[in-house]
């Protein structure tokens, strides 16, 4: 296998009862690129991420990460291999402080998790790492706030902070700006920019805000009704007829439609 491919899926599929949420998706993601997934609501983007991060087991197909078949691995092992995930619907530890949310993610990278009789505060490195990350995502000064009390925009930043603290090589960002006001979006985009600038990371981004996608992506894969209908550079995708049809709702003009039939 090409060693610059960090992630590859082969005819990946997920059925929910009669509904085919992901209908045989094959993609290759190159190491160090920003590879975005777009598609209308219900296209299967989140389900695809759930398959990649191990939240769901696929009903068919395989997933390779750095050349290894990880299809059967549970979520926690994928996290340790270097696949990190942020959620479209904020998924944090609501009654813990901002710092503790991120500190726990940092702690999971260490070897101290089963030290039953030592005080967790004795392991300062996790806290230091967490503070660095809070600085990066712009939550410094709020570390002692209980997570559920944060305003929505800050919760989105915390979501990314937790992800970063697990030191992933491949970041799956599911609509990081979901539900944010216009003023808050640049803040998140700046964070994503910093991650990219730090080098070596591969970013898979799901977004609905087109100007973000066009600016932040090297490659775009377009999904519709569970299938890939187009893939290419931002310029190619912007001019793709099938993509335009899918977004305009002309459901009979694109290839993915067939995959959705019984």
């Amino acid at each position: 296998m090409d060693n610059t491919i960090i992630l590859e899926t082969n005819r990946l599929r997920k059925d929910f009862g009669g509904l085919v949420a992901v209908a045989g998706v094959s993609v290759k993601v190159r190491q160090g690129t920003s590879h975005s997934i777009i598609g209308p609501n219900g296209a299967g983007k989140t389900t695809f991420f759930n398959l990649l991060s191990g939240v769901f087991k696929p009903t068919g197909g395989t997933i390779y990460f750095k050349g290894h078949d990880i299809t059967a691995l549970p979520a926690y092992q994928r996290s340790h291999l270097g696949i990190g995930r942020s959620f479209q619907i904020t998924n944090i530890f609501p009654n813990l402080t901002v710092l503790e949310n991120v500190r726990l993610a940092a702690q999971s990278r260490g070897r101290d998790n089963f030290k039953l009789l030592s005080d967790f505060r004795a392991f300062g490195r996790y806290q230091e790492r967490a503070l660095e990350i809070l600085e990066l995502v712009g939550l410094r000064g709020k570390e002692l706030t209980v997570a559920h009390a944060l305003p929505h925009g800050d919760k989105r930043k915390l979501e990314i902070g937790i992800l970063l603290a697990t030191e992933p090589e491949l970041l799956l960002l599911d609509e990081p700006t979901a539900g944010m006001s216009q003023e808050e979006v640049p803040g998140i985009m700046e964070v994503i920019g910093k991650i990219k600038a730090s080098g070596g990371k591969t970013i898979m981004l799901v977004e609905h805000k087109m100007e973000i996608i066009m600016r932040a992506s090297d490659v775009i894969t377009v999904m519709h009704l569970g299938s890939v209908i187009a893939e290419g550079t931002p310029a190619q995708i912007a001019n793709d007829e099938a993509v335009q049809a899918a977004y305009l709702g002309g459901t009979h003009t694109y290839r993915g439609w067939r995959a959705h039939q019984p």
Partner: protein, 333 residues
């Protein structure tokens, strides 16, 4: 290291309580010392339950199986096999741990209420086994084991003060052990699992084994409490394996405050002492009165006594205690 004076200042209420408990045998008669012993034993049982329900978010309806097994190990080995006590101790620990592993591995495949129901079924099976007539030659059937021989130096009747100190040390030791565990890196992971299990898995924690681990620890603590209970009453009857025991643990934890450790200890005081007096005053109808008190407690302390006072530190007792301790601190300096 912090200086001794600040260490004392932060902990003087605890030291005061401990001093009172240490001096109690000088003032209390045998009956009350016995009541305290029962409180200490129940408190450890409640502590162990809090590790599961309060800190890890695991709801078990079968916790009596650990407590009862500890009691039966003591009964079977001391009475049936005439083992020396020091040899029984590791067997209690091993039994609690083994049952924890078994229950964890078999039942953790399901979650929440389903898990609770399966643990209940598990405990009922053991309860029925303990009372079954086929096992009567060993377990004493539905009558259980009576007259367990306890070494003379710690006899719960003749040497009650010794037994009192043993139980008090047991509680203090187990309390600090539990405190250490919840404040350890592992304890923090358990709290994360309680808060958001799926997220704990996506940041790299193997939720299943953490849960098995805490069930084992909790099971060992409960089994030790059950063992001491058998030594105190010199018996082990099916009642210690019954669902009533589990409900006691649940009530003590809820009344005192889930996820606070000290709360369930307080809950044990409330349950045992209140139970004693209510039975005196109201006779056989006391559970009815207790039920009313329980409802009132839950209404006024929705997060348990300790939990509620912590959440609303500006109201009521907690503020008063704080002011008092601040005043005393200033006077001392």
């Amino acid at each position: 290291m912090q200086p001794l004076s600040s260490w004392l200042k932060a902990r003087w209420p605890w030291l005061a309580v401990l001093a009172c408990l240490t001096l109690a045998p000088a003032f209390l008669n045998k009956f009350y010392l016995g009541l305290m012993v029962q409180v200490f034993i129940l408190a450890v049982f409640a502590l162990s339950y809090d590790l599961l329900m309060g800190y890890s978010g695991i709801l078990s309806f079968g916790h009596a199986m650990f407590f009862g097994s500890g009691a039966y190990v003591v009964g079977l080995l001391l009475k049936g096999a005439a083992w020396p006590l020091y040899a029984v101790l590791p067997v209690i620990i091993a039994t609690g741990a083994l049952m924890g592993v078994l229950v964890g591995i078999v039942t953790l495949r399901v979650r929440g209420v389903y898990f609770a129901m399966i643990t209940l079924a598990f405990a009922e099976v053991i309860y029925i086994l303990s009372a079954s007539s086929q096992l009567r030659p060993w377990t004493g059937g539905d009558e259980g084991l009576h007259g367990i021989p306890v070494p003379a130096w710690m006899s719960p009747t003749a040497e009650r003060v010794t037994f009192y100190y043993i139980s008090l040390s047991f509680l203090v030791l187990m309390y600090f052990l539990a405190r250490r565990i919840v404040n350890s890196p592992t304890g923090r992971v358990l709290i994360a699992i309680r808060e958001n299990e799926a997220r704990a898995a996506t940041i790299g924690y193997n939720v299943f084994w953490y849960k098995v681990l805490i069930i084992v620890i909790s099971g060992v603590l409960a089994a030790l409490a059950g063992g001491l209970n058998a030594l105190y009453f010199r018996n082990a009857t099916p009642e210690v394996l019954g669902v009533g025991r589990t409900i006691d643990a649940l009530l003590m934890t809820i009344i005192g405050g889930m996820g606070t450790l000290i709360g369930p200890v307080l809950g044990a005081v409330v349950i045992r002492v209140l139970g004693n007096y209510l039975a005196d005053w109201f006779g056989p109808r006391w559970p009815l009165v207790f039920g009313l008190i329980f409802v009132a407690l839950v209404m006024f302390f929705p997060w348990g006594i300790v939990g509620t006072l912590r959440q609303r530190p500006l109201r009521g007792l907690a503020q008063w205690i704080k002011r008092l301790s601040r005043g005393a601190g200033q006077k001392a300096s």
